[in-house]
C-alpha cells in the first residue's frame, strides 16, 4: 500500500527512467519474438519483419505508455482536486477552521523566517563579506574582553600585518549639519584611509576619498575637523532626503560644525557600515603621533587572500605583544581580537531569533496536529463513504490520494493566507522591533515565499497523512447500511487521535513554560533598581563644535547659560548635564586609571573608573542619592581645587570600611595630565547600560573645572517629560540656532529601550504560547466531541439501562483530563531537557521557577473545563432516539 503510494508520488521525478525502462521492456519483447522465429528456421531479417507485423510498432507503444503516465497523473490529480474542492465547499466551517489554523502557522513561521534570514543568514551587501572582520582591543589583566582600538596602534598594525589585506578605523559621532537656515544633528563617521578600499565599496555617484584627501584631513583631540579643503561623502539616505537624488549634489558645499565641506560622492543605498543611520562620511588622516591609550576607534579589517581568521588573529596578537614591549607605558597588557563582521553586527540577536523560530515551529506542529485531528474526526464520519467506495472496487490508493488532495487544498489556501499574514506581521515587526540589527532589510521576498511554500507542503503531509493512513485501513463494508459507524473503540483509531492530542498538549506546555520564564525574567528586570529615577526626565544630547566653542571657557559659559534657561522654564524642577548619561547611547564614555593619592602605585593593580563630567544639579535631576559628602554646588570654579565624586562601589573598593570623603584620588586623565582630586562626595551606583549589566565604577568631575563640548542635558519636570520637548528645543534655538539637540527623548523611553529586546521576546513567546494553548484546547474539545459522537449508540444504551449522568460526565471529562495530564508530563520533561537553550536569555529566574510549574498545571485544569462541554453533550443524548435509530 505504502509502496504503491510512494511509487506514485515519486513518479513525476522518475519520468526519464521509467521511459527508458519501457523502451528496454519493449525491445526485450521484440527480441524474444524474433529469436523464436529464427529458431524456427526463419532468416533474421524476415523474422524481424514478421515480428514487427504481428506485434505492432514498439515506438508508438512507448509513446502511448508515456502518455498513459502523464495523463493518469493529470487526470487523477484533477479528479481528486475537484472532488476535494466539492467536499470542502460542502463543509464550510470545517474548511474555514482548518485554513485559518494553517494560515496562522504558516504566517507566523514565514515572518520569523524572513526575519532570521535577513538578520542572520543573508550575507552583508558588500563584496566577499566572509573575509571582513571587526577588530577589538582586549586586556585580560583588566578583564576588558572587547573595546575600541587606538589610532596610534592602527598605524603600526597596518604596516606589520601580512595576513590582513587592510585595517581601517572609524569613529561615529553626531555633528551639526547646516543647510541654508536649517540646522540638524546628524550621525557622521570619520573613516581612515583603507576604509572604503577594504570594503570594496564604490560611490554610487561621484567617488569616495582619495588617499591624499584622507591624509590631509586632520581632527584635533576633540574630533573637530582642522584640515584644509575638507571633503565629505553622503549616505544614500541623506542624498535622497536633502537633495532629492540630484546627481548635481556632488560638488556642492555642506556646512558641518560650521565648516564648509565639499561633497565628492554618494554611497550606494545598501551600504551597511557602521549603521544605516550614519549620514555623512568624512576622511580621517591619522598623524604619526596619534595616541596609543585612547581606545575609541571601531576597527574593521579584511583577511588577505588565503589567510584564515585564526592565523590572522595569531599574527595580530604577536604584533600587539611586540608593540606592548616597545611602548610599555601605553600598551602593557593590551592585545587584540578579530571577530567576523557579520557575526559582530548581529551580536547575540541570533540566539533569541533561533529560539523564536523553534517556538514558531512548535506552533506550526500544533496547528497541523489540529487539522489532522479535525480531518480524522471527519474521516470517521466518512468511514461509511470510504467503505462503500471500497466495496464498489475503489483502490485504497485512490482514497488516500483523495484525503491528501483535501489536505493539499487546505494547506495551499492556508499558505496563501499565511503569506499575507506574514506580510502584515513583518510590517508590524519593522515598526516595533527596530532595535534588531539589520531589521530594515527584512521583507517577504522570494526566499520567504519559497519557505512559505515548503512549510505549506510539510503541513499538507503532517495534517493529511494521519487521516489518509486511516482511510488506507478502512474495510470494505459487508453491508452498506452504516454498520461500521456503530463499531465501538477500534484500538488503532483511538491511539492515533489520543496521541495527537497528547502531542499537542505537550508542545503547548513547552511553549507555555518558555513564555512564563521569559515573563518572570522580564518582571525581574523591571524590578531592578537602575539607581536613578527616570520618571519625568527629558534627555537632550548637545554636541558643541570646536570651531565656535573650542578652547577657553566657551563651552562652560554656554552650558551654564543653558542650565539657567532650562531651569527657568515653567514646570522644570531642575536641570543638569553629563558627558555620558545612563541608557543614553550618545556621548563620550571612557575609563581611566585611578588610585588613592599617596598610596602604593602598582601599575597592574590600578583600578579603572568610567569618567563623566557633570554640572552641579545633575544628580538631583536624575534622582540619584548622595550616600556621603555633597554634590557639586557651584563652588567648583575653574580656579578652585579639583574636586571629584565617586560612585559608591568605587569608594567602598578604594577605602573599604572608612570614609572616602575628604581623601584625595589620583586620576590619570591622559590629555590633561595626572594629579590628585579632592573627594567631596559619594553617590549611589547606577546600572549604566541597563538592568542586566552590573554597576560600573564611576567618577564624576565638575564640568566647570573640566569643560567638555558634549553634554547630555537632563531636565526634570513635575509632569510628563515628553510635553517639555518643544520648550527645550526653543531654548536651544534661542541660545544658538546652529546647535539643536541630537534627538530629545524621555529618559523613561531610553531606559525602556534597554529592556526592549526582553520585552519583545516575552511578547512574541507569550503570543505563540497563547495560540498553541488555544489550538490544543480546541484539539481536546474536538477529539472528545467526536469521541462522544462515535459512541453515541453505546452511551444511549448505557443511559437506557440506567447509567448515572454524573458518572457519564466524569467518564468523558476525565478522559480529557487524563490526556492533558499525560501531555503536561511529557511536555514538562521535554522542557527540562530543552530549557538550557533559554538559560542565557533569562535574568534572575532559574529554569525550575515555580511560576512555570503553575502555568504548566493550569493547562490540564483548563483542559478539564473545556472537556466538560462535550461531556455535558453526552449527557443530553436521548436514549430513546438512539435506540430507535439503531
Amino acid at each position: 500500500m505504502l509502496k504503491t503510494l510512494i511509487r506514485r508520488l515519486t513518479e513525476p521525478f522518475r519520468a526519464a527512467l521509467l521511459d527508458r525502462d519501457a523502451q528496454d521492456e519493449l525491445a526485450h519483447h521484440v527480441g524474444l519474438a524474433v529469436a523464436r522465429k529464427v529458431e524456427a528456421g526463419l532468416d533474421p531479417r524476415e523474422a524481424r519483419r514478421q515480428a514487427r507485423l504481428e506485434l505492432g510498432d514498439p515506438e508508438s507503444t512507448r509513446e502511448e505508455l508515456r502518455a498513459g503516465r502523464m495523463g493518469f497523473r493529470l487526470e487523477m490529480f484533477l479528479k481528486d482536486a475537484s472532488l476535494a474542492a466539492r467536499t470542502l465547499r460542502k463543509r464550510r466551517a470545517f474548511t474555514a477552521v482548518c485554513v485559518l489554523t494553517i494560515a496562522l502557522g504558516v504566517g507566523a513561521s514565514t515572518a520569523l523566517f524572513a526575519l532570521v534570514d535577513a538578520v542572520v543568514f543573508r550575507p552583508l551587501p558588500l563584496p566577499d563579506p566572509g573575509a571582513l572582520l571587526s577588530v577589538y582591543d582586549t586586556n585580560l589583566a583588566r578583564s576588558v574582553s572587547r573595546t575600541g582600538i587606538t589610532s596610534g596602534n592602527l598605524i603600526d598594525w597596518r604596516q606589520r600585518m601580512t595576513r590582513l589585506e587592510g585595517i581601517a578605523g572609524y569613529y561615529t559621532m553626531g555633528r551639526t549639519l547646516t543647510m541654508g537656515l536649517e540646522s540638524e544633528v546628524v550621525l557622521t563617521s570619520q573613516v581612515t584611509e583603507d576604509f572604503f578600499g577594504l570594503l570594496r565599496t564604490r560611490a554610487e555617484v561621484g567617488r569616495v576619498f582619495t588617499p591624499e584627501e584622507t591624509r590631509a584631513s586632520l581632527f584635533n583631540s576633540a574630533a573637530a575637523p582642522v584640515g584644509a579643503d575638507p571633503v565629505a561623502v553622503l549616505s544614500h539616505g541623506l542624498w535622497q532626503r536633502r537633495f532629492g537624488k540630484d546627481p548635481a549634489a556632488v560638488g556642492q558645499t555642506l556646512i558641518i560644525d560650521r565648516r564648509p565641506f565639499r561633497i565628492v560622492g554618494v554611497l550606494p543605498e545598501d551600504f551597511p557600515l557602521p549603521g544605516r543611520d550614519v549620514q555623512i562620511f568624512l576622511p580621517w588622516g591619522i598623524p604619526k603621533t596619534a595616541p596609543r591609550d585612547q581606545h575609541y576607534l571601531s576597527g574593521v579589517a579584511r583577511l588577505a587572500p588565503g589567510a584564515s581568521i585564526r592565523e590572522a588573529e595569531e599574527e595580530l596578537k604577536a604584533v600587539a605583544s611586540g608593540l606592548a614591549s616597545e611602548y610599555p607605558k601605553t600598551n602593557e597588557g593590551w592585545s587584540a581580537a578579530l571577530v567576523p563582521l557579520q557575526e559582530d553586527l548581529v551580536g547575540d540577536a541570533d540566539r533569541i531569533l533561533f529560539l523564536l523560530l523553534a517556538a514558531v515551529g512548535l506552533v506550526l506542529m500544533v496547528a497541523c496536529a489540529n487539522v489532522a485531528l479535525l480531518s480524522l474526526a471527519r474521516g470517521l464520519e466518512r468511514a461509511h463513504e470510504a467503505s462503500i467506495r471500497l466495496a464498489l472496487g475503489a483502490a485504497r490508493g485512490r482514497l488516500v490520494a483523495q484525503f491528501l488532495a483535501e489536505a493539499l487544498l487546505i494547506c495551499a489556501a492556508g499558505g496563501v493566507l499565511g503569506a499575507m499574514i506574514a506580510y502584515a506581521a513583518i510590517a508590524l515587526l519593522k515598526d516595533t522591533a527596530s532595535s534588531l540589527p539589520r531589521v530594515q532589510e527584512v521583507g517577504v521576498d522570494p526566499r520567504a515565499l519559497l519557505f512559505a511554500c515548503a512549510v505549506s507542503g510539510i503541513a499538507t503531509l503532517l495534517s493529511g497523512l494521519p487521516a489518509a493512513w486511516r482511510q488506507a485501513q478502512a474495510k470494505p463494508s459487508p453491508d452498506l447500511l452504516g454498520a461500521s459507524m456503530r463499531v465501538g473503540g477500534v484500538f488503532g483509531r483511538r491511539t492515533l487521535r489520543d496521541g495527537l492530542v497528547v502531542a499537542e498538549v505537550a508542545v503547548s506546555v513547552i511553549l507555555l513554560i518558555g513564555a512564563s520564564l521569559l515573563v518572570r525574567s522580564y518582571q525581574h528586570l523591571r524590578a531592578v533598581d537602575p539607581g536613578f529615577d527616570p520618571r519625568g526626565v527629558l534627555v537632550a544630547p548637545i554636541f558643541l563644535d570646536m570651531a565656535a566653542y573650542g578652547g577657553g571657557d566657551k563651552s562652560r559659559v554656554y552650558y551654564e547659560a543653558l542650565v539657567d534657561r532650562l531651569e527657568a522654564l515653567p514646570g522644570v524642577v531642575s536641570a543638569g548635564g553629563a558627558t555620558a548619561l545612563p541608557s543614553s547611547p550618545l556621548g563620550p564614555d571612557f575609563e581611566r586609571p585611578v588610585w588613592p593619592a599617596g598610596g602604593p602605585i602598582d601599575e597592574n593593580a590600578k583600578d579603572h573608573a568610567w569618567v563623566r563630567m557633570v554640572t552641579p544639579r545633575y544628580f538631583e535631576t536624575l534622582g540619584m542619592r548622595m550616600t556621603a559628602g555633597r554634590a557639586f554646588d557651584g563652588r567648583e570654579g575653574p580656579e578652585g581645587a579639583p574636586a571629584v565624586i565617586l560612585s559608591e562601589g568605587l569608594a567602598r573598593r578604594l577605602w573599604p570600611g572608612s570614609d572616602a570623603v575628604g581623601q584625595r584620588l589620583m586620576v590619570d586623565y591622559s590629555t590633561a595630565g595626572t594629579y590628585p582630586y579632592e573627594i567631596v562626595g559619594v553617590v549611589n551606583d547606577v546600572r549604566f547600560t541597563g538592568p542586566r549589566a552590573a554597576p560600573r565604577q564611576e567618577i564624576y568631575l565638575a564640568h566647570a573645572q573640566r569643560p567638555y563640548l558634549v553634554l547630555n542635558m537632563a531636565v526634570r519636570t513635575s509632569g510628563d517629560a515628553r510635553y517639555l520637548a518643544p520648550a527645550v528645543r526653543k531654548v536651544l534655538h534661542d541660545l544658538d540656532p546652529r546647535k539643536p539637540a541630537q534627538g530629545i527623548h524621555a529618559l523613561e523611553d531610553l531606559l525602556g529601550a534597554t529592556y526592549a529586546r526582553d520585552r519583545q521576546a516575552m511578547l512574541v513567546a507569550a503570543a505563540f504560547a497563547g495560540v498553541a494553548v488555544v489550538l490544543s484546547l480546541l484539539g481536546v474539545h474536538g477529539m472528545l466531541s467526536h469521541h462522544v459522537r462515535e459512541r453515541r449508540r453505546e452511551i444511549g444504551i448505557r443511559m437506557a439501562i440506567g447509567a448515572d449522568r454524573r458518572h457519564l460526565l466524569a467518564w468523558v471529562a476525565g478522559r480529557g483530563l487524563r490526556l492533558s495530564l499525560v501531555g503536561v508530563l511529557i511536555g514538562g520533561a521535554l522542557s527540562a531537557a530543552l530549557g538550557q537553550g533559554l538559560a542565557g536569555l533569562l535574568f534572575g529566574v532559574r529554569l525550575n521557577d515555580p511560576a512555570s510549574a503553575v502555568a504548566a498545571l493550569a493547562l490540564p485544569l483548563i483542559g478539564f473545563l473545556v472537556s466538560l462541554h462535550p461531556a455535558w453533550r453526552a449527557t443530553r443524548i436521548d436514549p430513546a432516539e438512539v435506540l430507535r435509530a439503531g
Binding site: R8, H29, G31, E54, L55, F72
Partner: protein, 103 residues
C-alpha cells in the same frame, strides 16, 4: 479485443505463474489456441493500467536470454478481482450463449 477481456486474460495468466511481457503474450496465444493475438500496443498499456490499480506487481529480473526483463505477478487485490470478474464473465457469457442458441 476489448480492454476488459484482455485485462481478465492477463490476470488469469499471471494467477498461474509470474511472467514477463513476452511470456504473457505467448501464454495467452497458447491458451486460446491462437485465437487471441497480442500486440505490443494492446498488452503494455493494459499492464500499465493493471499495475496502477494495484492488481499486479512488477519487478526487474534476468530473463532466460540473460537480459533484464520486467516480470509481472498478480497481487492479492488482483486475485480478488479475477475471481469476481471470472464469475461475472462466466455468468454473462453463459447467458449470452443461451440467448444466441435460442432459435
Amino acid at each position: 479485443m476489448a480492454a476488459e477481456k484482455l485485462d481478465l486474460l492477463i490476470l488469469k495468466t499471471l494467477a498461474l505463474a509470474s511472467l514477463h511481457g513476452f511470456g504473457i503474450g505467448q501464454r495467452i496465444e497458447q491458451m486460446s489456441d491462437g485465437v487471441f493475438k497480442v500486440t505490443l500496443g494492446s498488452l503494455y498499456p493494459a499492464l500499465q493500467r493493471l499495475e496502477r490499480e494495484g492488481l499486479i506487481d512488477a519487478e526487474w529480473r534476468v530473463s532466460e536470454n540473460n537480459r533484464r526483463a520486467r516480470y509481472y505477478a498478480i497481487t492479492a487485490a488482483g486475485k480478488k478481482r479475477l475471481t469476481a470478474e471470472q464469475k461475472d464473465w462466466l455468468r454473462v457469457s453463459a447467458a449470452v450463449t443461451r440467448v444466441l442458441r435460442t432459435t
